[in-house]
């Protein structure tokens, strides 16, 4: 701990920026970014069963994931003030046809779990 304080003081005296930010000659920049782990499960309102093949995407962002056989999804996304997730049936009628649903995420941590129920189209 003492050594770390010495490091900060001496580093500051050399007046160079980015003392503790570096990258190896042939490596990448270090990652100081923040992201959010978004996980959850999508189920059918009528049957209560998990739905696979639902596209889960962040609105205004290129990222998406498709739910698996257990209706589950998991992905990291940029941490923004407001994140709206969209749930869209993109595999046609292969396992029923569901209405699209958007939901605003409420999170206080670096991860959030979302349970979503989709209604079948009549």
């Amino acid at each position: 701990m003492k050594q770390k304080w010495i490091r900060r003081i001496i580093g500051g005296l050399s007046f160079t920026s980015a003392l503790f930010i570096f990258q190896a000659c042939y490596g990448t920049p270090q990652d100081f970014g923040q992201d959010l782990l978004i996980e959850g499960q999508v189920k059918s309102k009528s049957t209560g069963l998990p739905i696979n093949g639902i596209k889960v995407s962040v609105v205004d962002n290129e990222q998406y994931e498709i739910t698996n056989e257990e209706g589950k999804f998991s992905f990291y996304s940029e941490m923004l003030e407001d994140i709206v997730l969209s749930f869209q049936d993109v595999d046609s009628i292969s396992n029923g046809l569901y209405m699209t649903k958007d939901t605003m995420l409420n999170y206080t941590d670096s991860k959030v779990y979302v349970d979503i129920v989709l209604e079948e189209m009549k």
């Binding site: 005296l13 160079t16 190896a24 270090q30």
Partner: protein, 347 residues
């Protein structure tokens, strides 16, 4: 006077970093397979079909020996070409579960929209893509007629992500030294925020190709270009940490030269060897993850990296800048190690 104080303080800072030797940055040479056949192969990375890709579990076992993770500890996947592996997303997720960040160095050939999304979904946080010139000169170095188009598409994709800490690197050589302004304009037009330039060290295939090395005059013009462009602030441009550049030292980077190989930078190489940057002579390996505890090696070995007095030989022996340079970048000691391969300051 102020400059002398800064340099003195920076030397003391380096000494304290060596004492701490906190592991902040770990290369994983996850494959030596590659989809290109670059003219400078073996200089900064190597292609070697003799090795199988290292299983993820073997690498994670080494990672799990690390007792204290520093803040922002990053695992950097390198190769070969890391995107030749289809399971790096899986490894990335495992690293994130352990609270670690990860990044990739890529030639961009396989970086399409599907892969971009799948990498981001798995928690990729930083990315470096190589662009080595305008179309002719890039394809010349990469030895592939389609490489430029693919890498530009990859750069455009990567630049769309606010999440990625992304930069472009360029190996400056005789073919592209006169194109630097146009390359900069191209990168700015593609919304690239950071550009890192380096030269090609004469190892691997680069030994026998004189077009890959810069003349002393060209090297100085490169330093002038970088220092001038840094004033313009159109793009965050810098010279890589490959070597000590004398009077240009405060002008071409954010900080003075400090080779952190073995001090903050470690690696797990394709055969399990434990070392620092992958372009360092493999004779300097300090152990092997298949026979040693990775973190134990990191904590208690690496003496040649943490005490560079042994580099005080050859042209470094009587150099007045040795205290600041300390034998230049560690990757400049290859073969018989009787002399430094490149002295940037003397150019």
């Amino acid at each position: 006077m102020i400059s002398a104080i800064k340099r003195y303080a920076f030397r003391k800072f380096k000494e304290s970093e060596v004492k701490l030797h906190e592991l902040n940055y770990l290369f994983w040479e996850c494959t030596t397979r590659c989809n290109l056949n670059c003219l400078h192969c073996g200089s900064d990375c190597a292609k070697d079909s003799a090795f199988s890709d290292m299983p993820i579990d073997d690498f994670l076992k080494a990672i799990d020996t690390i007792e204290t993770n520093s803040q922002n500890f990053t695992v950097v996947f390198t190769g070969g070409e890391p995107l030749m592996r289809s399971d790096i997303e899986l490894c990335g997720r495992e690293l994130r579960k352990r609270g670690l960040k990860w990044a990739i160095v890529s030639n961009g050939h396989l970086y399409d929209e599907k892969r971009h999304i799948s990498l981001l979904n798995s928690g990729l946080g930083a990315l470096t893509i190589s662009l080595d010139g305008l179309e002719y000169s890039h394809n010349w170095l990469r030895n592939n007629d389609f490489s430029f188009k693919k890498v530009i598409a990859a750069i455009e994709l990567a630049a769309t992500s606010n999440r990625l800490n992304f930069d472009v690197v360029t190996c400056v050589n005789q073919q592209n030294i006169d194109e630097l302004v146009q390359i900069k304009d191209l990168l700015v037009s593609k919304n690239v925020k950071a550009w890192r330039l380096f030269t090609i060290i004469p190892i691997g295939r680069a030994v026998d190709n004189s077009l890959l090395s810069l003349s002393d005059f060209q090297f100085v013009s490169l330093m002038e270009f970088i220092s001038e462009q840094r004033k313009q602030k159109e793009i965050d441009i810098k010279f890589s940490c490959e070597g000590f550049v004398g009077n240009y030292e405060p002008l071409v980077r954010d900080s003075y030269f400090f080779c952190r190989a073995g001090i903050n930078i470690g690696s797990v190489l394709i055969d399990g060897a434990i070392s620092a940057c992958p372009n360092i002579d493999r004779d300097f390996s300090q152990g092997n993850i298949y026979t040693d505890n990775f973190f134990d090696i990191w904590q208690h070995k690496f003496q040649p990296f943490r005490n560079r007095e042994w580099t005080k030989k050859g042209q470094c022996k009587s150099c007045k800048d040795f205290k600041d340079c300390q034998g230049n970048g560690f990757h400049n000691w290859h073969g018989d190690k009787k002399n430094v391969l490149v002295c940037h300051k003397e150019k």
